[in-house]
């Protein structure tokens, strides 16, 4: 069985502050991990993904995430948030590469960036 836990359902940070959104996964095999963002009234958009190699992956708009096998984690970070980063962020796990692998979605973390 596989699962994803995002422990912080709501996060508020001030504009210009740094951000970390936590993600823990449970899976016995090799995970493929993603972060998606959902802006209001829109579908999900891919921020970044990790398949293998360098555990720190860069994404769009200054986001990065770090994979840790020992901690079963894939935390998302940004050095300085902007008001436009306010959205819901989903951590996603795939059990295998290849079409058809069902994805496990975290419950999402709603980020509010205050002025």
């Amino acid at each position: 069985a596989q699962s994803v836990t995002q422990p912080d359902a709501r996060v508020t940070v001030s504009e210009g502050a740094s951000l970390q959104l936590r993600c823990k996964y449970s899976y016995s095999g090799t995970p493929y991990l993603f972060w998606y963002v959902q802006y209001p009234r829109q579908g999900l958009q891919l921020l970044l993904k990790y398949y293998s190699g360098d555990p720190v992956v860069q994404g769009v708009n200054g986001f990065e995430a770090e994979f840790s096998k020992s901690n079963s984690s894939f935390h998302l970070r940004k050095a300085s948030v902007h008001w436009s980063d306010s959205a819901v962020y989903f951590c996603v796990l795939s059990a295998g590469q290849g079409t058809g692998s069902k994805l496990s979605f975290g419950k999402g973390a709603k980020l509010t960036v205050s002025p």
Binding site: G43, L44, Q97, T99, G100, K102, L103, G106
Partner: protein, 114 residues
Amino acid sequence: NAGVIQTPRHKVTGKGQEATLWCEPISGHSAVFWYRQTIVQGLEFLTYFRNQAPIDDSGMPKERFSAQMPNQSHSTLKIQSTQPQDSAVYLCASSAGQCAETLYFGSGTRLTVL
């Protein structure tokens, strides 16, 4: 590239009526996925097609829900005899098949059953 197109954006039905949701995947993408999103349950997988063939419908409620992909340019999700608990945002996504888990999502159809 217009992305994944879902229509309608909003649909309101009365209890017991039928609802048909449409999805046009990105041209050239071989896989189409349907998800349901609610506040309580989050994102739930419903069904998935590859090259128009149904591959996995394990997330579909056994009664009243059906999905089809009659051609590579569109897929439909049909809900018969809609119930208030069917109210949700239904998301369609497509992928190219190589990096299959990179899904491209539509904006969703918000279904409200009164």
